[in-house]
């Protein structure tokens, strides 16, 4: 049985690649997209290029319908993936087409097979089109309730009137590598090297497989030789306080190299000082710490319901509004492709520019033949 970490779509693949670079045991990675360039360029150990015969490896250009067709075609491959899978993590951007569709289909299939499934997803940036925002919402709602969904809002853009593009890109990069660290925590739990450290914690193997949505997830990380000394400063200075105020769920991961001065036992208490009472705090720790330094990762978010019930008081419940009917008025007429390979000698002199191409035909004439000849003939 194995663990699978799937980067779905270009954005998801980016994060999984980051994780592969930072992890000491990057096993079970899979890159899945319709775009050959992002799949081929990925570091993942396994790659799945979706329906190259439909899009020619160009991806679906953001079209959800095409994405559905592509995923539909790869149905068997996707099921194959889940055959001996014990635990599944999918990382994806919700506003894309391919990644979001793969996440939806794969997670449904996984929960059907009772495979514990987690989805790390990023909602769209505020500036993405309304269409994409809605598509993202739809995917969020379509993910199976049995899976646990973590929504990481992308980093805010600068407030300046004209944002520095380079800075925006750096921000995005930092965001992706922060996420990659949590992919590593997830993978550690799945492999049994990261365990709950709460005093009296339930024997639950993974905090990530608790069903539900944790939205508005913010992540913070600090790594130092003597973290105990810098901890108060970090908690105040990193923005953790502000984020914690609204949180009702907090995951803290600690990986302690070197000498144990006992402060880690107090970590829970220290964090509690920042968190509202209702917040559920889970401490995780790595059993076999890497010896370099002490690392602390924090994730705070809010539990949310996945299927908000729409409120529309005007709507007459008895007689729901009819769906608008769709009638395309005029079916498209496609011209037949005209190109046809004609032996070069017939078209023009040898070695001419048209020797290797399809002849240009127009109304029964081969336009590669000199015009003055055809004209004088007629």
């Amino acid at each position: 049985m194995s663990v699978r970490i799937v980067g779905a779509g270009a954005a998801g693949i980016n994060v999984v690649d980051e994780w592969i670079l930072l992890s000491d045991c990057p096993t079970g990675s899979l890159a899945c997209d319709g775009e050959a360039s992002s799949v081929d360029g990925s570091l993942a150990s396994q790659k799945l290029l979706l329906a190259p015969d439909i899009t020619g490896g160009l991806g679906c250009f953001g079209s959800r319908d095409l994405a559905w067709r592509m995923v539909g075609q790869e149905n068997q491959q996707l099921e194959e993936l889940l055959k001996d899978c014990s635990r599944l993590l999918i990382v994806t951007g919700l506003a894309g087409a391919t990644g979001a569709t793969v996440a939806e289909v794969l997670s449904l299939k996984a929960v059907e097979r009772e495979i514990p499934t987690t989805v790390f997803a990023f909602p769209p940036f505020p500036f993405e089109t309304e269409e994409r925002q809605e598509a993202a919402e739809a995917t969020r709602d379509a993910l199976p309730a049995e899976a646990s969904l973590f929504l990481f809002p992308p980093p805010p853009l600068s407030e300046e009137p004209i944002p520095d593009v380079a800075a925006v890109r750096r921000g995005l990069r930092a965001f992706q590598s922060a996420l990659a660290q949590w992919v590593d925590v997830w993978s550690g739990m799945a492999r049994g090297v990261v365990l709950p450290a709460n005093p009296g914690a339930e024997a639950e193997s993974s905090r990530f497989t608790v069903a539900g949505v944790i939205e508005d997830c913010h992540v913070f990380s600090e790594a130092r030789a003597r973290l105990d000394l810098s901890l108060p400063g970090f908690l105040e200075g990193s923005g953790f306080r502000q984020a914690a105020e609204k949180a009702d769920r907090c995951l803290a991961y600690i990986e302690a190299g070197g000498e144990d001065s006992g402060w880690k036992e107090e970590l829970g208490e220290r964090l509690r000082e920042f968190l509202p009472k209702r917040t559920r705090l889970d401490l995780l720790r790595r059993t076999e710490a890497r010896p370099t330094e002490t690392r602390l990762l924090l994730l705070v978010g809010r539990a949310a319901s996945r299927h908000p019930t729409p409120v529309c008081p005007e709507r007459d419940e008895e007689r729901p509004a009819p769906e608008p009917a769709r009638i395309p008025l005029r079916p498209c007429v496609f011209p037949e492709p005209e190109g046809r390979l004609v032996p070069a000698s017939q078209a023009s002199q040898d070695g001419t520019p048209f020797a290797k191409t399809a002849a240009t035909l127009h109304k029964g004439q081969n336009l590669d033949i000199p015009a003055f000849r055809r004209r004088s003939r007629s």
């Binding site: 079209s63 593009v165 890109r169 750096r170 005029r330 007429v333 496609f334 002199q349 520019p353």
Partner: protein, 411 residues
């Protein structure tokens, strides 16, 4: 993909039949483009805009990119790519949404639904959609509007201009670039990109035709009321003129190309009618005198045919009768002497040489007729880039603009 670039640099790449062309510009904080430089390398293995030798073409592209990097001192990782070829098809599509017998107020959702519908249209086997360009919405009373939200109607119709191409052909071009570790940020139909380099918003709304005379292909696009009304691609171009000349005068292709560029004309004026052009002896060829009347006859037959095919195609379009816009010629082939006069006669409308809209910076784009496609790619890229980077920026400029942008679909 999000490298640490210190500034926002846009790169346009066109793998043309005669040359690979690269243009590099900087997008500054005000959203203005400064042209940093252009570079080119001869493309010997592209015919009618299609790659016939993958490796050689890749080398040529690499060469042009290196040259551009050297000239502009920019490291290129990402390009905007022009797409063209005789396999490109464009067509109109009208869709309708029934809003019930009582009528209903039109909402954003209806517009989205229409767009979904248009993208669901079945294309012939192996084709993929390159652009779906919205033209206008039409209400049941015949009102045409760009923004029907908030209006009442029983039926909402939308006209789209769709462009599709054969997936495998596109894949070859894109692959060729991607294998050089260059990311293709977006693609644009070559004529669509070209129009961006030439037409002001006024010209787009007043009505304009841009004919791009390339080496292997002549493509054209029509703007009307601010949107793309029509586009087309004809697999005949400057190479055909040259080839005809080579056949008629019985000289090799490269010699004919030179003859065309130095003495070629399609205007048989008094002063040239009786002249002859001397071709120096060279290789196995003897000195030879070619009458100008022959050159004009050969070139005119071909160039006139190209324009006539385009005219016939335009005449088939419903809007053409009432069309009062101008026709602009661009591309390397538009430098042929007398071509405007010939086109004016054939189209029976004013025809002029197109002038690229100015960029900031030292590098001028005046007279760069063969460069208009890559220059247009930069302007196309600017829209993509600003759309991507600037939540804050657009908020300030206003919702109307972002609404406009959201309508431009990028692949």
């Amino acid at each position: 993909m999000f490298g640490n670039k210190s500034r926002s640099v846009l790169v346009g790449l066109e793998a043309g039949t005669s040359k690979i062309k690269v243009a590099v510009a900087e997008l500054n904080a005000r959203g203005a483009l400064t042209l940093l430089g252009v570079a080119e390398s001869p493309s010997t293995h592209i015919r009618k805009c299609e790659i016939t030798d993958f490796e050689m073409t890749q080398k040529a592209i690499h060469q042009a990119i290196l040259d551009a990097e050297e000239k502009t001192d920019v490291s290129i990782g990402e390009v905007y790519l022009a797409i063209s070829g005789a396999h490109i098809r464009s067509f109109q599509s009208r869709l309708a949404l029934d809003l019930g017998r009582e009528g209903a107020m039109i909402e954003q959702g209806h517009l989205r639904e229409l767009r979904e519908l248009v993208r669901q249209q079945a294309l012939p086997q192996g084709q993929i959609l390159l652009h779906d360009l919205l033209q206008t919405y039409i209400l049941d009373d015949g009102t045409a509007t760009a923004n029907p939200v908030g209006l009442f109607s029983r039926r909402l119709m939308a006209d789209y201009h769709l462009v599709s191409g054969i997936a495998t052909r596109l894949q070859t071009t894109v692959h060729c670039v991607k294998e050089l570790s260059l990311r293709v940020k977006a693609y644009a139909l070559s004529s669509y990109a070209t129009a961006q380099a030439l037409l002001s918003p006024e010209q787009k709304s007043f009505g304009s035709v841009v004919i791009n005379c390339g080496a292997g292909i002549t493509d054209y696009i029509v703007y009307r009321n601010g949107f793309v009304a029509h586009s087309g691609t004809l697999g005949v171009g400057g190479d055909h003129l040259t080839n005809d000349l080579a056949v008629a005068v019985k000289i090799p292709f490269p010699r004919a190309e030179e003859l065309k560029k130095t003495h070629g004309t399609v205007d048989l004026r008094e002063d040239v009618a009786h002249r002859r052009v001397g071709l120096m002896a060279g290789g196995s060829y003897e000195q030879q005198f070619v009458p100008m009347s022959l050159i004009v006859e050969v070139l005119q037959a071909r160039q006139a045919e190209i324009f006539e095919i385009i005219r016939e195609n335009l005449e088939d379009q419903p809007f053409w009768e009432g069309f009062s816009g101008r026709i602009f010629l661009t591309g390397g082939g538009s430098q042929l002497d007398g071509i405007q006069k010939l086109a004016t006669k054939i189209f029976d409308r004013p025809v002029e040489a197109a002038k690229p809209l100015a960029f900031e910076g030292e590098v001028s784009c005046e007279g760069r007729q063969g460069w208009t496609t890559v220059l247009g790619l930069l302007r196309y890229g600017r829209i993509v880039e600003m759309q991507e980077s600037g939540g804050g920026r657009w908020d300030r400029i206003g919702r109307s603009l972002s609404r406009f942008l959201s309508r431009i679909r990028l692949f």
